[in-house]
């Protein structure tokens, strides 16, 4: 079991300074390989009695190694990823939370039934779903030609550049981009100024605090999640499929409808799912760009958590209702599109 310093060089950066040290030492006094091994950090580690003792016990069988490797990921994933959701569902059935001193919370269904009893919650809920459906569809219509152009018309060596041009704005955060839309659409905003200067309007059009400004803002935030899956699906379609269709006499519309569209189905499914899920979850954007007539469900839910905390169970129940609804809608959608959702995150 020899680990030579030359092997170290191929390895990690972490060992590099130790290595330099070993090199200078070697220049002074040539050492046999076994002695050199002791000088290297990893060699020293592996010869350390304590390390040997611990790893001998831990790595004795492949099964033990596997369990050791598995233990933390399994704990993390089920505790930290699933835990919050489970705790949220649990609290949604309690009649009071956070627990008050000397009172044992009782299980109840009242938080869930409250949703079905009060119209002021039903309306934002269905409005959110309606918005999300509409915006997903509009985003698909807007980004499909863009993705098609990128995948099929831009030369391969330029594709990265053209794609990067679209990516840059999406690295900017939600709040900054929402603010940018406020400046664009305000009464003294760029659009109104432009319309006024070409004489189309005398008085500014009140774009802001409407479903229009909210829609523009949310599409601005989510378009990339549609564009990227579409692009990667369209890029995979071989050009000769389209040429073959053309040779067989298909016009451009038929080629699109019979070849391109079906082959980009996977991209459409992933893109729509992502945009739908993400657009239902925005909170700051509806607060800043929307008005009293565009209250979305995220704002209703947030309302329960602003107050001192006694309405948490209702907020938890409403979040649970929204989570179940959005996940099952996307599940049904993916089934309809003929996918099992396995490759959703690709």
């Amino acid at each position: 079991m020899f680990i030579y310093p030359t092997d170290l060089r191929a390895g990690g950066q972490a060992a590099s300074d130790k290595m330099a040290h070993a090199d200078t030492d070697r220049a002074d006094t040539p050492l046999p390989p076994t002695a050199r091994e002791k000088r290297s950090m990893w060699g020293a580690l592996m010869n350390n009695g304590l390390y040997k003792g611990v790893t001998d016990v831990l790595f004795k069988t492949p099964r033990r190694q596997f369990l050791l490797l598995a233990s933390f990921p399994l704990f993390w994933v089920f505790f930290a990823h699933l835990g919050p959701i489970i705790e949220m569902f649990y609290i949604s059935f309690l009649d009071s939370y956070p627990p008050a001193a000397g009172y044992e919370p009782q299980l109840t269904l009242a938080n869930w039934s409250r949703f079905f009893e009060e119209r002021i919650f039903m309306i934002p809920f269905f409005r959110t779903l309606g918005f999300a459906f509409t915006l997903t569809f509009v985003t698909l219509l807007i980004t499909y030609p863009v993705a098609y152009f990128l995948a099929k018309h831009v030369k391969r060596k330029n594709q990265l550049l053209f794609l990067l041009l679209l990516l840059i704005p999406f690295w900017v955060g939600e709040i900054v981009r929402t603010y940018a839309i406020m400046i664009l659409l305000g009464n003294n905003g760029a659009v109104n100024l432009l319309l006024k200067s070409i004489g189309l309007i005398d008085r500014p059009i009140p774009f802001m605090y409407t479903s229009f400004s909210l829609g523009v803002g949310i599409i601005y935030l989510t378009a990339l999640y549609m564009l990227l899956p579409l692009y990667s699906a369209l890029e995979k379609i071989p050009d000769n499929y389209l040429e073959a269709a053309a040779d067989l006499g298909a016009g451009s519309w038929t080629r699109f409808r019979r070849v391109t569209l079906p082959l980009s189905r996977e991209g459409i499914a992933s893109g729509c799912t992502l945009v739908f899920l993400i657009s239902t979850g925005y909170y700051a954007t509806p607060v800043l760009l929307g008005g009293p007539n565009t209250t979305v469900f995220a704002e209703s839910i947030a309302g329960f958590f602003h107050v001192a905390g006694d309405e948490w169970p209702t907020g938890a129940a409403f979040s649970a209702i929204m989570l179940i609804t959005t996940l099952s809608l996307t599940g049904v959608f993916l089934k309809l599109m003929g996918r099992d959702g396995k490759g959703l995150m690709k």
Binding site: F2, I3, L8, G11, W42, M46, T55, L69, A70, F72, P73, W76, F78, A80, H81, G83, P84, I85, E87, M88, P98, V146, F149, K152, F162, L166, I168, W171, V172, E174, I175, Y179, A180, I181, I183, G186, N188, A190, L193, Y220, A223, L274, L277, I278, G281, Y282, Y283, A284, L288, A298, A302, F305, G315, A316, S319, M322, L323, K342, L344, M345
Partner: protein, 261 residues
């Protein structure tokens, strides 16, 4: 494809680029306006708002606070995400698909629900709202991204390299640190910068998990609610430049990784 549709497509592409860039450009330009009032036309220009930001102790403090959260949550996400990937990637076992789905879960839950459930979870763990709670929230949210990127990279690691290391006497731990980890480096850099961006830009989790001390997006949000001002433009522009640079860097390292693989 006819000539007309080709032209139409390129027009749509460039119109889309304009739609993406114009709001941001306007926002940057407005930060140089010599007036407290946001709106067009701009008659006088100034650098005052920018110099003001660099002298504003509150903004600088908040910036450092956001940075600390981003660095801490990125470090944790990288360690945990890599571990999850090292476990999920090469091993096949019953229920793997379920574990994989649960791994991805935080990335697909709508933002507000993620924030609320994490708020409840932090309370369950008796973590007070504030820095620790936000770091936890960002770590949970970012681990899926790290795990997916690292799994993709791991899939291309030649098995022979690990075997060679083991033949030369390395045990699993040494083989991981000497062979696997250096091989993962580009993936970790790319995923790490991506995590920094996600954390630094995040509003909804920081808003619900935060205490009295705001992160930068939460501060901008609070300022916006009390009225627009060129000062916000100056802060936002600085954030914008920072994120664009970080994003380009991440993109470059990921691109290199895919080429090198």
């Amino acid at each position: 494809m006819t000539r007309h549709t080709r032209i139409l497509m390129s027009v749509i592409y460039w119109a889309f680029v304009v739609y993406l860039f114009v709001p941001l450009v306007l926002m940057v330009v407005m930060g140089f306006k010599d007036s407290k009032f946001i709106g067009f036309p701009i008659r006088a220009w100034t650098m005052e708002w920018y110099t003001g930001v660099f002298q504003d102790g509150q903004v600088l403090g908040v910036f450092a606070f956001s940075m600390a959260i981003a660095l801490a949550s990125t470090f944790l996400s990288l360690v945990i995400g890599t571990w999850v990937a090292a476990f999920l990637g090469p091993n096949n076992f019953r229920g793997k698909l379920i574990v994989f789905a649960v791994t991805c879960l935080p990335a697909v839950i709508p933002g507000i629900i993620s924030a609320i459930s994490l708020r409840i979870f932090a309370r369950f763990l008796s973590i007070e709202p504030g820095m620790m709670a936000i770091i936890l929230g960002h770590t949970v949210h970012n681990v899926p991204f790290v795990a997916l990127v690292v799994m993709a990279r791991l899939a291309t690691l030649p098995k022979s390299q690990i075997e060679a290391a083991q033949d030369l006497g390395a045990d699993s731990v040494v083989a991981f640190f000497r062979i696997t980890l250096p091989y993962l480096k580009p993936a970790l850099i790319g995923a790490g910068i991506f995590c920094m961006l996600l954390s630094f830009d995040d509003f909804v989790r920081a808003f619900f998990l935060g205490g009295y001390e705001p992160t930068l997006p939460v501060l901008i949000f609070a300022k916006l609610r009390s009225g627009m001002s060129p000062e916000i433009n100056a802060i936002s522009t600085i954030v914008l430049i920072l994120t664009a640079v970080l994003g380009l860097w991440a993109e470059r390292s990921m691109r290199r990784m895919n080429k090198g693989a």
